[in-house]
Assembly symmetry: C2
Homo-oligomer: 473 residues x 2
């Protein structure tokens, strides 16, 4: 019954992923090397994500702004660590029309420099603080490989940039936004996540520290899914963001930034989808219900319109598939596109006073009486699906999270059945590099307050940090 255009995910996961992306018309390659096209089905998921996250950002007191696409090289170079981190992967504009520019401009890979420059003009006194802005934008990083949603030279994201009068307030903001992302992943995307602080080696260039949301894909590979950075005064010193504090003294401000990208669509696919195509948690699905007539028949048509009108009035996005394709073809199309609920109406069913409702995630079909309140039924079903999808992903993640006490255990897991690895670490970068030799196993984050051993898994020296490790996208 599996979709013929889609390779099985247990046979070739990478191929399966691309097949799902193409079959569900989420994304396409373009003639521009390294850049992809967001097709309507894929872009609609991004818009849904934007809407939900944007509301969460507003509720936590943030406002949207829009800053320039270009950054003059000299401005970019003011904060040394940032430019060192990004220099190998920025695109440079050197000409405007026929004229060579006096100073070349980089296409923003991220906007800390521009926001800091702007804030240096804007922030004068503690009364101006906090400033809590967010930006929805495209960014460019000159990647060598291209994988739809996961890696491309241009991608879409949001970047929050805030300024505070105290370190405590900025650190609270950093943690708050991490929790906003965690909430979004778990309660909307139905993806359980692990959170914690990145090691020095893995943190964002220019940050004091980076908090991260890490998710585990179906194939055991980890995906860094959102990050929230505490900058302390690093950027405020480089860009001269000073304010008069309550004691009337000039002080450098405290900053944060936090972001998440269209990569989340990749996570959605790799956690929930199957060999029949896309599977979406109802809360994030742009279209919730497909209504499909089994036969062209007056009674069927009337019933279908009645259902459509009821769902539509209740604000449940749905469509009637009235094309001249076969019913089986329509079912498969709704499946591959990840429509959570399918309602089938046929003349025989109607004679028995029934319609058929199918859920996408489990493929279960239910006979439902035509007297049932279809709006309530659909809403209940979608709520159950949302919970079930999260629990299924949580169970998988728990089963694929392993505690390791020595390197051969790590090697066994990474080579045979990858997943999250919990292991103690002494804090030494050399030990991180040794782990990386095991097929690129990297520290994902330091887990707070947990401990499974007293010694570093690599060097055997005393260790107080429990680290989550994994191979990554």
């Amino acid at each position: 019954m599996a979709n013929k255009a889609i390779t099985s995910r247990d046979v070739d996961f990478a191929k399966w992923y691309t097949d799902v992306v193409m079959a569900a018309h989420l994304c396409d390659y373009s003639s521009v090397k390294g850049c992809t096209i967001f097709e309507p089905n894929g872009y609609a998921i991004w818009e849904k994500m934007q809407k939900i996250l944007d509301d969460m950002f507003r509720k936590t007191g943030h406002k949207n702004v829009y800053l320039p696409l270009f950054i003059p090289e000299s401005l970019m170079r003011k904060e040394g660590e940032l430019i060192n981190g990004f220099a190998p992967e920025v695109a440079w504009v050197t000409h405007g029309g026929a004229k060579e520019l006096e100073e070349r401009l980089c296409v923003r890979p991220t906007s800390e420099t521009l926001f800091s420059d702007y804030y240096s003009q804007k922030v004068k006194s503690y009364r101006d603080l906090p400033v809590k802005y967010n930006q929805w934008a495209n960014v460019v990083r000159w990647e060598k490989e291209t994988r739809p949603f996961l890696r491309s030279r241009e991608f879409l994201w949001q970047e929050g940039h805030t300024v505070h009068a105290t370190a405590e307030e900025a650190e609270a903001e950093t943690l708050q936004m991490l929790n906003v992302y965690k909430d979004f992943f778990e309660n909307y995307l139905a993806i359980p996540v692990m959170t914690g602080r990145k090691t020095e080696k893995e943190k964002f260039a220019g940050a004091e520290y980076t908090l991260t949301v890490e998710a585990l894909m179906y194939n055991g590979v980890a995906l860094q899914s959102s990050t929230s950075h505490y900058f302390g005064q690093k950027f405020s010193k480089a860009y001269n963001i000073q304010f008069l504090n309550k004691n009337n003294e000039l002080e450098y401000a405290y900053q944060t930034s936090w972001g998440t990208t269209t990569r989340m669509i990749g996570a959605l696919i790799m956690v929930h989808s199957d060999d029949d195509g896309l599977v979406l948690p109802p809360k994030i699905a742009p279209t919730k219900v497909a209504i499909i007539p089994i036969k062209d028949d007056e009674k069927v048509k009337a019933k279908i319109e009645e259902i459509y009108n009821k769902l539509n009035e209740a604000g449940i996005d749905c469509y009637i598939d009235n094309t001249d394709k076969s019913a089986g073809f329509k079912f498969a199309e709704a499946e591959v596109n990840g429509i959570p609920v399918r309602i089938e109406v046929g003349p025989r069913d109607l004679e028995n006073g029934q319609i058929t409702v199918a859920r996408r995630d489990t493929k279960e079909k239910f006979q439902v009486s035509i007297d049932e309140d279809i709006v309530a039924y659909t809403n209940n079903l979608m709520e159950t699906m949302q919970k079930d999808m999260f629990n299924k992903a949580l169970e998988r993640k728990n089963k694929m999270t392993y505690e390791c006490h020595n390197l051969s255990e790590v090697e066994d897991i990474i080579n045979n059945h990858p997943g999250f690895i919990k292991a103690m670490w002494c804090g030494d970068e050399a030990c991180e590099l040794r782990m990386k030799e095991i097929r690129g196993t990297k520290s994902r984050c330091i887990l707070n307050g947990e401990k499974i051993d007293d010694k570093c898994i690599v060097c055997g020296k005393e260790a107080s940090k429990l680290v989550l490790w994994g191979i990554q996208y």
Copy 2:
């Protein structure tokens, strides 16, 4: 009483415009030459515009997509007229990281080329048509001057790109989208517009013809506000978009594109605002009501919260100004920011069973009984304001639209009291160029089915076209 930070618009219109933009915190200059920063108040207006237009686009059957920021030079060059039109004003990316690119990439000034390239892959049969996509994006044109919202090297816009099986359908789409823009301008922005076809000289590079929405600013200068282009088969031939038609013959497809930009924010300012700052039609104002306590008092506080809760529950965006500024300062701030309705609550008013409601556009103040239904009152007032603002702008536009029968009349108007000029034209480009000598007077559009004379205003030869002329931004 006028805001001290704002030059009078009758004294220096250009300065007044920039003063309003800055005083209302709509936009700021950036350290990136030619690029501006959309501050929260300005960006919120853009988001409101996006939301309304996006719904209108969906209702007319369009879907959103996102195509790359970059266009390879060779792809850009396939349609000769387009590249000739844009070559002097595109930005070129020549390096990715440290490496020089094999082919330089232009930062999109518009995306006909990319959409056409994409459609050439996607469209195979008449069954695939129509394709009706829209994109919200940033675009770059290497302008020499910078004026907030009106002219900058990067701006935000939407661009619709559609493909059809017949010329008739594509032309109907071109006209439909023109009317969507007209509807949006008149019924949301409260800006009366003139619409018609551009002359050959003024049409979009690469189009068969261009339809345009033209608005008149307070100072009599015309603003091209949205355009809708019919391409016929020009791009489909250059990019090979062929489909099998119903007769099973290969045919080149018919295309349109249409777009509008952040420039609309400039139009809003230049049509409605005054010497006290921004004035926004209620339907486009992100925040509708400012609630201001005259005094810090328990009864006042209780009343203000009651009003806030009622408005908020009714979905009317509002805020309470509880800062420690004076009431007068708060009034001025709500005024400069263009909040349509201001509700003032003071202890003396309350003793008399009243509150005060002020409308931003006319500055009128009303004593309103505390027993009045404040939600209904506010909604009614906003409806009245919306209508009044449109009518006021319409009256001004009509008063400033002149019929001219000879060039000295044109000169008199342009030199002394500019506005829209209606005059007959023979169709000859030489006559257009002669008009341009009068302080840059350009044809705005050809008006349909009207006629005020038999002869061309310039050459005196027979003329059947009534043209709208004006000086422009």
